[in-house]
């Protein structure tokens, strides 16, 4: 099996997933653990994921409840060395078996650092994984409405609490739902284009999801409408981009995105709040996004909440008056560090205290 990139570079190795060919956008992620969580993250829909950490599959694949969605979501997987023999008490099957089950092709035995360097210099590229000589054209998943593909198809309710949170599923990672679940709260998970503004709810959460945020036209419209009620809003990942678009700001595509578990984000609001502490507060966050909010286009009333300590890109926004805020990173972690779990806790506190 081989990986072919837009710039015609070819990386040949062995197949360890499904024997199918696939085309998509090739991205790299630098996390050293958490392949099950990443592969089942709907935000990766349409993408061929290259893991920079070379040894993948070591601890197998656990049961369903550890996934971020019901299945393997990536279009394809590329690793340095797949570990055929896995070892973990919670493992149910090997990564190869699991990928075969979900018909995801996977490539091992290639120099993933070299691929990463190529993507880093050229920017994200299209590519395909293929067996033999068959020709496969390139396909850009961002031209498709990926969110529509991965969002739930109908409304689902969880819990029996008095306070209600509407969660717009644009391809949600299930750990967001787990993080929001607590007694006293009902979660209503709705499809991406569902008009939730007529629902009775106390708070609104807009989830992560794949692709270009501009494709989510109906969601943006509903958020705009939700602003009128002034109820608390929390956006995560794609959610921050949708919130920004609804507020009138713009988004843009990053050259090669942030896909890692070690992104440092500065909390600007904390520094503002705490005049005494002129010290910067920085969190290590888990990220997976190709688009970002353009700071210059943020309208009046909004401020930057978090900033990436490395490249200065917007990592969170909040409204100066209304309880609306969103983050570009993943406070629910999974995979990655759990340092910003407090964002959910604070949001839930707010809902409970309404």
């Amino acid at each position: 099996m081989k990986l072919t990139l837009e710039d015609k570079s070819v990386f040949e190795g062995e197949s360890f997933g499904a024997s199918v060919s696939v085309a998509g956008e090739v991205v790299f992620a630098t996390g050293m653990t958490g392949y099950v969580e990443s592969l089942s993250d709907p935000s990766y829909a349409g993408q061929i994921l290259v893991c920079t950490y070379p040894l993948i599959g070591n601890y197998g694949v656990p049961e369903r409840r550890f996934f971020e969605s019901a299945k393997a979501q990536v279009a394809g997987l590329v690793v340095g060395e797949y570990s055929k023999k896995y070892s973990h008490a919670k493992a149910k099957e090997s990564l190869g078996e699991w990928l075969k089950h979900w018909r995801v092709p996977a490539l091992t035995g290639v120099d993933t650092r070299e691929i990463t360097k190529t993507l880093r210099t050229r920017g994200v590229m299209l590519g395909h994984l293929s067996e033999g000589k068959e020709y496969l054209g390139f396909y850009n998943p961002n031209t498709e409405n990926l969110v529509a593909r991965v969002s739930c198809k109908k409304k689902i309710a969880y819990g029996k609490g008095k306070r209600v949170i509407v969660v717009v599923d644009c391809g949600i990672k299930e750990n967001i739902l787990r993080s929001l679940s607590r007694s006293g709260i009902t979660l209503i998970r709705v499809p991406w284009d569902y008009d939730f503004t007529n629902e009775k709810y106390n708070g609104l959460v807009i989830s992560n999801g794949p692709g270009n945020p501009e494709a989510c036209v109906p969601t943006i419209a509903h958020i705009k409408k939700a602003f009128e009620s002034g109820k608390p809003i929390l956006g995560v990942c794609l959610g921050v981009q949708l919130l920004a678009l609804a507020a009138g700001a713009k988004t843009y595509k990053l050259p090669f995105g942030h896909r890692s578990q070690n992104q440092p984000c500065l909390d600007l609001a904390k520094s503002l709040r705490d005049r005494e502490a002129s010290f910067p507060r920085c969190y290590i966050t888990s990220q997976n996004h190709g688009y970002a909010v353009d700071e210059k286009t943020l309208p009046k009333g909004w401020s930057v909440w978090f900033k990436n300590a490395n490249d200065g890109s917007v990592e969170g926004i909040r409204h100066k008056k209304f309880p609306w805020r969103a983050v570009q990173f993943h406070p629910e972690a999974s995979p990655g560090p759990t340092d910003t779990m407090w964002i959910f806790h604070n949001f839930l506190e707010e809902i409970m205290n309404l």
Binding site: G34, Y53, P54, D111, R120, N262, P280, R281, P337
Partner: protein
């Protein structure tokens, strides 16, 4: 100006290298000094370890070579009046000293602020009871444990937990005094021993077979907290992490486990209030995922040095900056220089650390490994598959193993391999290899060793590849697969019955090459101009291109007995001089405890094997101007000739000439031709001839078999009986493994010349003399500079001999020659055409950097000049640092085989002052009242009598064993007679020892170097186990007593290096 307005900082070093506390603290101290200097703070360094980089001229503002004790630290504080002190960069020694200074209000009195982690936090991490309590407050689980202060309490606690239990002693480095106990009896015995060095021990639940995982955590004063690295021990709980193979990042932890433990680490460190760096260790249950926090080290540690080298994140440097009040987000990532230091490195490779043991240097030492640390060094291998790093790491150990399997030497065949898997020894990895190749299942091995199946499967894979290489035709594909699985050319040669040279040629013909990859801390996410490199066969392209031609410097490899931080010091000096002369530098080393492998020491750092194959790979890629092989000890020195024959230019002395000095036969002939005397010797191929030769030379003789299975290689035979015993131990005596017998000269003194030559002419030299007579290994000897007892005539002759040897060998660069002196007659016993262990000592004492001069000589620069090295206004003494308390069962008697793990050196206005300071710095304590004297042999008694009289007149009380007591009384020295242990009569030596009344034991064996197991051994061993100062050498005893008398009158002075030199 530093953020915290600190202007003068006292930095405490770690002292002499010992087991559990090695070169890693040179790395951390040196980085701390750099960080402090960058902040404009003045640095006062206190560290008697003269072989370190941190104690160099022009690094710290002032250096004190003084004992790291409360008394001396107080003197320094009183004199220097620093406003801040750093406790976290000198290991457990510095931490304990800091705690003592705080407790006794020295810091308060002189208003010295503890920078970084507060003392209260350190106490909370060091006192097990407090620790457990503090962690309980935030719901973090620790091993169920009871802190006890007496034997009874200990037994009670163990009964409550149920056996087996784990015993740990508080305030200890490297797990000293800890261990598993399975019965009440065993517990009482171990607890008694532990209570001799500590007042509190812990009885804990025993977590056998749980995974052992570590996290390195950094926190700043503003509560920002990051985890720089996590590591997984291959050897699970029950084997000390210093004794374990350790992999980073963890391999068998799921995301949930990894981040659950990470979150607990951060929660714990925040709650404890660490500022700077710390290490947290966990036990993780392999099935349930339940965990226990084992310990927190609120300081830089061996693990943090490893984490630093594994990730490229300069932990010590950052920790020092945080201690001065900086926050993480303000600091830059030193590797990328553009991104922030507030991040967690992402690795796109893995590293494996392997410990290096040297237990065979100790007669009778227990060979199994467990909860106490015994290893003396370590290596770190970097690669992109586990198989690759495992085989690389084993080769890096430099123990003659070619990898996991397929060795050229037969030494790695383990007779009882299943037993050594179950009851681990330093050879366990080879026992596993053997079991796997004999078809033992991984399940079975897992059951015995508790090593995770994942690692064992990878090991099995190596054996599978081995089988294929043995059986199949070697194609490019198979060759690449073998290389990707870490096989070296020489292993492949063994398997295919070829030679390393032929395999290398075939590999090149088939175009199977390694790739050079960078370590950039971000897994390639951002471009980085990093110079930190490794080679792998899992790559299709190099990360870098060949740069300007540079000079390649070969490092020292792992620390072991006889090769330690002093060679790293030399290498660092070479790099500095090369840099000063605008040369590109290429450093190759495999040891994570070094300064030479710091990110800012060379232009290109290859963290790689020091094997011919790998050095050639690098040389072929870099095409250097030349290689420096004369400053890294024996490993690079041994490569000189083969590198030369493969076209690598060796700087300095011609490799053929190095070989002439190394080869016993040719060197001996050379001396004969020059008319230089040497002890008679012969090389023999049968046991019978060996005995005949010994008889001809006359006993005692020095016996050196070239092949032994266990026990030390070198011995002294005093008669036929002992010779036969030693010969039996030699596994093989043949033409392949000859035995060397040489005349052992008694009552001779030893002197050494360290120097630099250029084109066969002497440039600079320093002459040192040993306090102990010949027979004590030069590495274990107490060394004096300038010489105090050597005749000028002897010095002149030694210099003359040196000049003629240098000329004959056409030496350019550093060298060392060792002499035996008896009256005025000199014999040459050894010549090394490389820097010796004493180079940092002679450089710092004379004020001339010998390595700088040597490096300039290597580069062909003009180095002639006037150097004054004999007539000095002060005296310096270097003392060995032993680690006998770690090596259970070993006889703490100096011997022809080196046993010390480190050294210290101190200066004085007189010989007496320098000697006593130096002994104190090596852990000796001055006696107050009670001294036990036990002298074998009439000669020892007679010769020591005047000294003992002097001691007696100074008011010391003597206890003496039977004959010694009779002798003293006959000579009217008052003493109390005690009976030898085996007599069971009272008063008995053993009672005396265990009552803790003794301040000093002088035990001189009747037959020096004989190592018989008798009362003497028991006394010496108990002295070590009960932490009672011990002197076993007559010359040292004499020197010590004279010095003690002198100092009683004149007193000590705390002076810094610049006040002397």
């Amino acid at each position: 100006m530093s953020k915290s307005n600190i202007q003068k900082v006292l930095l405490l070093g770690s002292g002499g290298l010992k087991i559990g506390q090695a070169g890693e603290f040179d790395y951390s101290g040196s980085q701390a000094i750099k960080a402090l200097k960058e902040e404009g703070a003045k640095v006062i360094l206190m560290n008697p370890n003269i072989a370190t980089v941190q104690t160099d001229y022009h690094l710290a503002d002032k250096v004190y070579f003084l004992p790291l004790t409360e008394e001396w630290a107080t003197r320094v504080i009183e004199k220097e009046r620093p406003d801040g002190i750093l406790l976290g960069f000198g290991g457990q020694t510095a931490l304990n000293l800091g705690l003592a200074l705080e407790e006794n209000e020295v810091l308060k009195k002189y208003q010295v602020r503890v920078l970084g982690t507060p003392v209260s936090t350190i106490r909370n991490t060091e006192d097990r009871d407090l620790f457990t309590k503090r962690l309980k407050e935030i719901g973090v689980k620790t091993a169920k444990s009871y802190a006890v202060r007496g034997i009874k309490e200990a037994v009670l606690a163990a009964d409550r937990l149920g056996y087996p239990v784990m015993m740990r002693s508080g305030f200890a480095l490297g797990g000293q005094g800890s261990g598993v106990t399975r019965t009440r009896k065993e517990l009482s015995a171990k607890a008694t021993e532990a209570f001799s060095i500590t007042s509190q021990i812990l009885i804990e639940e025993y977590l056998e077979g749980w995974k052992e995982v570590e996290y390195e955590v950094v926190r700043d004063g503003a509560d920002n907290c990051i985890v720089v690295c996590n590591m997984e021990n291959l050897d699970p709980m029950g084997i000390h992490t210093g004794e374990s193979m350790v992999v980073a990042p963890s391999q068998t932890l799921s995301n949930e486990e990894y981040h659950r433990l990470r979150e607990i680490a951060i929660r714990t460190i925040r709650h404890l209030g660490v500022v700077g760096e710390c290490n947290i260790q966990y036990a993780l249950h392999p099935q349930s995922g339940d965990y226990r926090v084992i310990e927190v080290n609120a300081r830089l540690s061996r693990s943090s040095a490893l984490a630093s080298k594994a990730t490229g994140y300069p932990l010590a440097f950052i920790a020092a900056k945080l201690a001065l009040g900086h926050t993480l987000p303000e600091l830059k990532n030193a590797v990328t220089k553009t991104t922030t230091a507030c991040f967690e490195p992402a690795l796109d490779y893995l590293v494996l650390k392997m410990p290096r043991w040297d237990l065979s240097k100790f007669e009778n030492a227990a060979s199994h490994i467990g909860t106490e640390m015994k290893s003396v060094g370590e290596v770190m291998a970097i690669g992109r598959s586990f198989e690759e790093v495992l085989q690389k790491a084993i080769r890096m150990l430099s123990i003659g193993a070619d990898g996991f399997t397929a060795h050229r030497s037969g030494n790695f065949h383990i007779e009882q391999y299943m037993k050594e898997i179950k009851e681990p020894t330093p050879r366990r990895i080879f026992a596993i290899a053997q079991a796997l190749s004999l078809g033992v299942s991984v399940k079975k091995i897992h059951h015995l060793s508790r090593i995770d199946l994942w690692f064992l499967e990878k090991m099995k894979h190596i054996i599978q590849v081995e089988e294929r290489v043995k059986k199949e035709k070697i194609t490019a594909e198979l060759l690449r697969e073998a290389k990707q699985n870490g096989f070296s050319d020489s292993q492949i040669a063994v398997l295919t019955k070829s030679t390393e040279k032929k395999v290398r040629a075939l590999r090149k013909y088939l175009r199977v090459f390694p790739s050079v990859k960078q370590i950039d801390t971000l897994a390639g996410e951002f471009p980085a101009k990093t110079n930190y490199l490794y080679l792998t066969y899992h790559g299709m392209a190099h990360d870098i291109v060949r740069d300007k031609k540079g000079v390649m410097v070969l490092g020292s490899g792992p620390y072991c007995i006889g090769s330690s931080v002093e060679f790293d010091w030399s290498n660092v000096q070479v790099l500095k001089t090369l840099k000063a002369h605008k040369y590109q530098t290429i450093m190759i080393n495999s040891n994570p405890e070094t300064v030479s492998t710091d990110y800012d020491m060379s232009d290109r750092l290859y963290f790689e094997e020091l094997t011919l194959e790998r050095v050639l790979d690098i040389a072929e890629f870099e095409r250097p101007i030349g290689a420096v092989v004369s400053t890294g000890g024996q490993i690079p020195n041994n490569l000189a000739l083969s590198l030369h024959r493969n076209g690598v230019r060796i700087l300095g002395t011609h490799p053929e000439d190095i070989d002439r000095a190394e080869n016993r036969q040719t060197f001996s002939k050379l001396l004969d031709n020059l008319g230089i005397d040497q002890p008679m010797w012969a090389e023999l191929t049968t046991r019978k001839k060996a005995i005949l030769t010994a008889e001809r030379l006359g006993y005692p003789v020095l016996v050196r078999p070239s092949y032994v299975l266990s026990g030390s290689a070198m011995s002294v035979a005093f008669d036929r009986e002992s010779l036969v015993k030693f010969l039996q131990r030699a596994a093989d005596v043949s033409t392949d493994h000859p035995i060397v017998i040489s005349k052992f000269i008694e009552n001779a003194r030893e002197i050494e010349i360290d120097g630099v030559a250029s084109c066969g002419e002497l440039v600079i030299y320093a002459i040192t003399e040993h306090v102990e007579n010949a027979g004590t290994h030069s590495g274990d000897a107490t060394v004096v500079l300038p010489p105090q007892r050597t005749y000028l005539e002897t010095i002149r002759r030694a210099k003359g001999i040196t000049k003629s040897i240098i000329k004959e060998l056409r030496i350019t660069g550093p060298f060392n020659i060792q002499f035996l002196a008896k009256e005025n007659h000199l014999q040459v016993i050894e010549c090394n055409v490389r820097a010796s262990r004493s180079f940092p000592f002679v450089s710092k004492v004379t004020g001339y950097n010998f390595i700088d001069i040597a490096t300039r000589a290597l580069l062909g620069k003009h180095v002639k000049g006037e150097y004054r090295t004999v007539d000095l206004d002060y005296v310096a003494v270097k003392s060995p640092q032993f680690s006998y308390s770690r090596i259970k069962g070993a006889d703490p008697l100096s011997y022809v085989e080196m046993a010390s793990t480190g050294e210290v050196a101190c200066f004085g206005d007189s010989y007496a002052e320098a000697l006593l300071k130096s002994m104190l710095a090596a852990g000796f304590r001055l006696p107050k009242k009670h001294i036990l004297v036990s002298l074998g042999k009439e000669e020892n008694k007679v010769k020591l009598l005047p000294s003992l009289r002097k001691l007696s007149s100074l008011g010391f009380d003597f206890f003496a064993t039977e004959h010694t007591a009779d002798f003293l009384r006959e000579n009217s020295v008052v003493c109390e007679k005690v009976y030898k242990i085996h007599t069971k009569r009272n008063p008995n030596v053993s009672n005396l020892l265990s009552h803790g009344k003794l301040d000093l034991i002088i035990n001189i064996p009747a037959v020096p170097l004989a190592r018989e197991s008798n009362d003497g051994f028991v006394i010496r061993r108990m002295a070590v186990d009960l932490n009672i100062p011990l002197i076993t050498n007559r010359q040292l005893a004499e020197a010590f007593i004279i010095a003690l008398a002198e100092i009683k009158e004149r007193g000590f002075h705390a002076k810094s290096l610049d006040e002397y030199v």
